[in-house]
């Protein structure tokens, strides 16, 4: 596995090349608290192009920032840094990575050539509306300069993911990418952002991972 580091904002992002090949890369976005594994995940064996995996900020071999402040939009920009370096991609996102993939697809509709959303940690986030206000004024106890960053685990499991925000991104992706289908949902999890909005779009299909990837090969 070859690993390169992309300097992005104030962090070094680890990008792992799991499979060589020609054509459009498949970009793997891991779940909350995870890291890119050393081999391609199940269901991706028929992908003929390169397969690369990003470790989000505060995860895996990427930088551990001081003081948290994680947002899904910041992690979306991590994934955008890979597009900047590697060109157009198809995204396979697990859990949190699926939601980040959706945000990126809506924001870079011409560079994301298909999105597959699979089950994984962090798929739900903190729900569709903010919960009671709370302050974690002390750093989590197990900060030890190792990833995953406890602030990431805390902040990205409680962020708000309203359905209309997700829908907004699907509409952007559908209108500007020209893809149909554009999003394949291989997850059985159904957080509200996915259940009530995404699945109602005509550019979203439900299938398993292998078939989903075949749609975008």
């Amino acid at each position: 596995m070859k690993t390169t580091f992309l300097r992005h904002v104030k962090t070094d992002l680890a990008v792992h090349e799991l499979q060589q090949g020609s054509g459009r890369p498949l970009l793997l976005l891991h779940g909350l608290g995870e890291r890119t594994l050393s081999s391609p995940p199940s269901g991706t064996q028929h992908w003929v192009g390169p397969i690369v995996g990003l470790d989000f900020t505060g995860h895996g071999q990427s930088s551990l920032p001081a003081g948290g402040g994680y947002t899904c939009e910041a992690l979306m920009s991590d994934a955008d840094a890979v597009i900047h370096a590697f060109g157009d991609v198809t995204i396979f996102g697990r859990g949190l990575g699926g939601y980040i993939g959706l945000l990126l697809a809506g924001s870079r509709p011409k560079q994301v050539r298909g999105l597959v959303i699979a089950d994984g940690p962090g798929l739900d986030g903190g729900g569709s509306r903010p919960s009671s206000s709370k302050v974690f004024s002390e750093p989590p106890a197990d900060i030890s300069n190792k990833t995953p960053d406890p602030w990431a685990l805390l902040e990205l499991s409680s962020d708000t993911r309203p359905g209309d925000y997700a829908t907004e991104h699907v509409i952007q992706f559908a209108q500007l990418s020209g893809l149909k289908p554009a999003v394949a949902v291989a997850a059985i999890g159904r957080p509200e952002w996915l259940e009530t909005t995404i699945l109602n779009s005509s550019v979203v299909t439900q299938t398993d991972i292998a078939q989903a990837l075949a749609l975008f090969q």
Binding site: R7, H8, V9, K10, T11, T57, S63, L64, P65, A66, G67, G68, G69, Y70, T71, C72, E73, A74, M76, S77, D80, A81, H84, G106, S107, R108, P109, R129, P130, S132, S133, K134, V135, F136, S137, P139, I143, W151, E155, D159, T160, R161, P162, Y165, E168, H169, I171, Q172, Q175, L176
Partner: protein, 315 residues
């Protein structure tokens, strides 16, 4: 160079004689070694008042207002938000992280009692949420032109307009791609003040030049603002401004709201009627005529008098 620099600063500051730098400045670790700069005016043994500045500002914007409160017997504490003023630049920024920093500054004040808090603009939003999260730590909230409305910043574009939204979303990512190498544009002291005038059109040029001496640094090629160039407005993300309203309405403590009635680029555009409809029951409210977003800078004597009268009712 040093004497020239000092002279330039001395001259700029001499035109705002009412301004006073803090009596004490300290640094506070808010996690993982990230530090914020905490400023204090007034006696350390006086009644504390915690104040939060607005977005793209810094605690030095209180350099006239805070001393008026300190002279009246308060210990005023404020901090530069992460990425602003003399605080460290962070890798990432979020409103929740700002709330957390506020709570850590609050914890750093040697006081076992609940204390009053004040916030301007974004700082008002921070203090509203802090009071909702930690009602046992806050005795009163003073909000200076940071009262939310249902429109919020997100409505500055039509989010059903595919092209406009694409521009906002991709614009954020374009900015992040460049952020590793961004630096603030250098200028003369007067030039930097003039550029800030576009964001603060109602503030006096003398005041803006003063602010440069506090919120900017002089490099070999000129003055540049200290604020992290990675920071920018937007995107608004998933946040819906309507969510803040019931939390504000539900606060059960003395509340003072002061707004300006002249709409400005940096302001929130909340009208007096909108504010009165959502403030906590029993709140005191003032809408200042012929005043813009920076109520405490345009009218420091009047606003500090209102604040002191309000605090005098229960302190």
């Amino acid at each position: 160079m040093t004497s020239e620099l000092d002279q330039e600063v001395i001259i700029a500051r001499s035109h705002v004689p009412a301004a006073h730098r803090p009596d004490r400045i300290r640094r506070l670790n808010v996690g993982g070694g990230l530090e914020v700069a905490v400023s204090e005016w007034g006696s350390e043994s006086a009644q504390p008042l915690l104040m939060a500045h607005g977005g793209f500002d810094f605690s030095g914007t209180f350099d006239v207002f805070a001393p008026l409160l300190a002279e009246a017997g308060l210990r005023v504490i404020s901090w530069d938000h992460r990425g602003h003023g003399d605080s460290d630049l962070a890798c990432m920024y979020s409103f929740d992280a700002d709330i957390r920093d506020a709570a850590l500054v609050l914890n750093s004040i040697d006081s076992n009692d609940s204390i009053p808090v004040l916030g301007h603009s974004k700082g008002g939003g921070i203090m509203n949420q802090l009071a909702d999260a930690l009602p046992h730590r806050i005795s009163a909230v003073i909000n200076l032109d940071g009262i939310p409305n249902e429109r919020g910043f997100s409505q500055k574009i039509d989010r059903t307009d595919i092209d406009a939204l694409n521009q906002e979303l991709s614009g954020y990512l374009d900015h992040r791609r460049k952020a590793s190498n961004l630096t603030r544009k250098p200028d003369t002291l007067a030039g930097l003040a003039q550029r800030r005038q576009t964001m603060n059109p109602r503030l006096a040029p003398e005041w803006l030049r003063y602010l440069v001496t506090v919120g900017a640094r002089k490099d070999s090629d000129g003055w540049r603002w200290k604020i992290d160039p990675a920071l920018r407005f937007g995107p608004t993300g998933a946040w819906n401004p309507q969510w803040a309203i019931p939390k504000l309405r539900g606060l059960q403590l003395p509340y003072l709201g002061i707004i300006g009635t002249v709409e400005e680029e940096m302001g929130w555009g909340t009208t007096p009627d909108e504010a009165l409809a959502i403030l906590p029951i029993g709140a005191e409210f003032h809408a200042l005529a012929e005043t813009g977003h920076f109520v405490h800078i345009e009218r420091p004597a009047e606003v500090s008098a209102i604040v002191l009268r309000f605090l005098g009712k229960f302190l």
